[in-house]
Symmetry: C2
Subunit: 480 residues, 2 copies
């Protein structure tokens, strides 16, 4: 933690910044959209590309792991200290769908640097935040004169995070021995703002689905038949509308079962953050807030379960009018989950609610894309404090703590590996995750590299958890 080390880290990073950004741009050109079956070959290409780069970085072991879906990348670089803790870094190499017509100013898969920002799908979510670890570990070695990291370093970079991580739980169960570690560092979240470095302490869970509704076997004339037969577009709308009651609470029976409510202390901590609603609304590209009665905006997005209509369609979509009763309609819904909720139980509640809501004459099918569990790590955990210190060194100021409204497979890692999950992210809300013109701030990206360069020494200094002979899966001292 000396200034000398800090300067050496900075010098190393400065000297390798250009090549690092060129490499990242090359990766971002691969449209690894896991939700689109037509992009399967690109997702594979992305995995192979990353594996090659991790080898170049110096990881002695690099493997592409197959799943029934998209491949993941695993890498391992043991410490030369047998008593050092082992850290597993998690990220993903797949990205959200993107096309120019969605409102991108430039091609989403043709990275462009402008005004200190790198624009491309995946720049922040998550390729940029995975890739900073490659330069980070090199800076760590260069600045400390080591030939191996101060901690045992493993990486798992999956390829289906943006489409629900359907095969990730099975993958980590299958490879639990290889993935064994003392903590997981998730590099797939963000921080409060450009000028407010923060460490995230938890994520919401997620389960999402498509509901297909079928009415008439074909579109029929609304004058001849309308008003006398069920209309699947109307029924899709009635379902979507019935998701929330008038207080904007989720109205699916059983949805809130088990939800861990916010404590007064947590509400106070949230309230102390410098929240500027006007600024937040600009980041959200929105004109007004709206959500569950009785909760603040931060509470709504970090600590409350929600239901969202991601897509709805049915009937005529062309220009002008067409007076039909459409034959079918569909809804894409996602549910954010918080501690205490179980994804499978929520899915059951949704299935029951849909079945109970539809009239005779409307057939339906529900497809869930998967479920990601919520998770939280206690504020006083020593490894969490290490992350906060490393980030503080990179940013030159103490960090604060937040949660993340988004979802990741962090909880699966926590459950299967039995270790605490920490979060290290330098993305900011304006980065446009899942939106057109996604970008990463280059200065923050380099702070991410710097944080990663400092972190391994600090974590090594915390030692291994008491009572653990080897990196394994003890009791759940971290989950709640």
């Amino acid at each position: 933690m000396s200034d000398t080390t800090d300067n050496a880290v900075r010098a190393f990073i400065e000297g390798h910044r250009a090549a690092f950004l060129d490499d990242l741009a090359e990766w971002l050109r691969i449209p690894s959209v896991s939700a689109d079956p037509d992009r399967a070959a690109d997702v594979r290409r992305s995995a192979d590309w990353l594996a090659g780069k991790l080898k170049e970085t110096g990881f002695p072991t690099v493997e592409v792991w197959e799943t029934p879906g998209a491949p993941a990348v695993f890498a391992e670089w043991p410490s030369d200290d047998p008593d050092a803790p082992t850290v597993l870094v998690y990220g993903h190499h797949d990205v959200q769908p993107a096309s120019r017509e969605d409102g991108w100013h430039t091609e989403p898969f043709e990275p462009v640097v402008k005004d200190g920002r790198l624009y491309a799908r995946g720049a922040a979510d998550d390729k940029g935040q995975v890739f900073f670890h490659t330069l980070g570990v090199r800076a760590h070695l260069a600045a400390t004169g080591r030939t191996a990291p101060a901690v045992g370093l493993k990486l798992i970079v999956e390829g289906e995070e943006e489409s629900g991580s359907a095969h990730f739980p099975a993958l980590i169960r299958e490879h639990a021995d290889r993935l064994a570690c003392d903590t997981v560092i998730v590099s797939d979240t963000g921080m409060w703002a450009e000028d407010t470095p923060t460490v995230c302490t938890g994520m919401r869970g997620l389960t999402d689905c498509q509901i297909d509704l079928y009415g008439p076997e074909q579109d029929i004339h609304s004058g001849s038949f309308g008003g006398a037969v069920p209309n699947p577009a109307t029924e899709a709308a009635r379902l979507a509308a019935a998701l929330h009651d008038e207080r904007r609470r989720v109205a699916i029976p059983g949805f809130y079962d088990g939800v861990v409510e916010l404590t007064d202390r947590e509400r106070e901590l949230f309230a102390e953050l410098p929240f500027d609603e006007e600024r937040w609304l600009r980041t959200a590209h929105s004109r007004a807030t709206l959500g569950e009665d009785g909760y603040t905006t931060l509470e709504r997005i970090w600590a409350r379960p929600t239901a969202e209509v991601n897509g709805i369609s049915g009937g005529y979509q062309g220009p002008g009018g067409k007076t039909i009763v459409p034959s079918d309609a569909r809804l894409k819904l996602s549910f954010r989950l918080v501690a205490g909720q179980d994804g499978e139980r929520v899915q059951q509640s949704v299935r029951q609610w849909v079945a109970d809501s539809l009239p005779d004459g409307i057939r339906h099918e529900i497809t869930f894309w998967g479920a990601t569990r919520p998770c939280l790590t206690p504020l006083d955990h020593p490894y969490l404090r290490s992350v906060a210190r490393a980030m503080g060194r990179a940013f030159g100021e103490p960090v604060r703590f937040t949660r993340e409204g988004g979802s990741g497979p962090a909880a699966d890692l926590q459950d299967v590996l039995g270790v605490p999950v920490l979060f290290l992210g330098i993305s900011v809300p304006s980065d446009g995750w899942h939106a057109p013109n996604e970008k990463v701030e280059l200065d923050l990206l380099m702070k991410g590299v710097e944080t990663a360069a400092h972190l391994w020494d600090d974590l090594a200094g915390q030692g291994r958890p008491a009572g653990r002979g080897s990196a394994g899966r003890p009791g759940a001292d971290t989950a709640r």
Copy 2:
């Protein structure tokens, strides 16, 4: 009304049937979709084609009338009897959108004859039912030895019926003198069933619109922002769901203002028709009936105003999931109107309801495509009885009376020209109006020709309405 005439009519039709069907197929190959701006040239080509055929048929006057939208075709063939009534036949030469992917077994604009049916977009709605008048008037002349029709015969065939007839009211006002007549015959409806010839006595009105909803300026991440900002797809769904209450009555305040309720006698007449719900459901390609509480299916589709979701869309439509709050969403709604309702007042009610329903942060725009008034003609009108007799001669059995749930510009003609509107149609419910695989039954199409051939003599025998010196616009003795 002699058997000799009937036989002569049948012989003439038989001799000209093949050429007639070839001509109709040629017309059906023109994709005159008025709702699609890209098809404007095809709609014009359709008008020109029809004008040419009407000249060939013998109409001394044939004109293509321009509108700010699609052109209409006017034709006139005066009677040689100055005391004969004048009849204006109405139809339309534009068609609904259609593409193979909607579920057509053959190309919608490549007519195919199979099992006595002619399949093509517009075969029944409305090119087939316009075109039978060309052979009908020729059969009338051939069988009676006349050189001009027994009545003054006019045709107005518009080009925007399927997109709301936005310019039709102005067109008929502009040309009211040329269109002056003693009655209008609308050839744009159907009959009860293949084995149950019927005459329609009224149509519902229609007004339809698109509602565009705007939330975030771009799609945003549902984890970072969902549950805390308004979602336009959710709001579109809430609007569509709120169209109907739990009794499936339209829940827009003011919607039912002025509605003329069904009389007990009308409900009895409806109930006497041989209605087979299972068969009707097959025709509707539907699995169950559903509609306004307290009314039968026939009452719902013929005599009750309704609201229908013709299309809904917003957010992600591709494969798999995408966890966003979408930036926009839209609804296409249509409202069927009955006697006593005013289209513009209904539009006002809808606008008010939408404005009152949306939360802060959702902008909206409403575009109405137009309004078509409802109409009804009394059962005891002498011209209506003529239509029933002519149809009875063609079919060899007495006809019954129905209404039509669909909408047409009949009421505008009634209002502007001040004359009763009659309906003559041979299409049947299974013809698939506005649906894939639209067809017309060739036997019924030829009965339509035959009815048209008989009608002019019968109508001429009824004379002109008392107190009318010339075809003009007297008091509203027919509307209600």
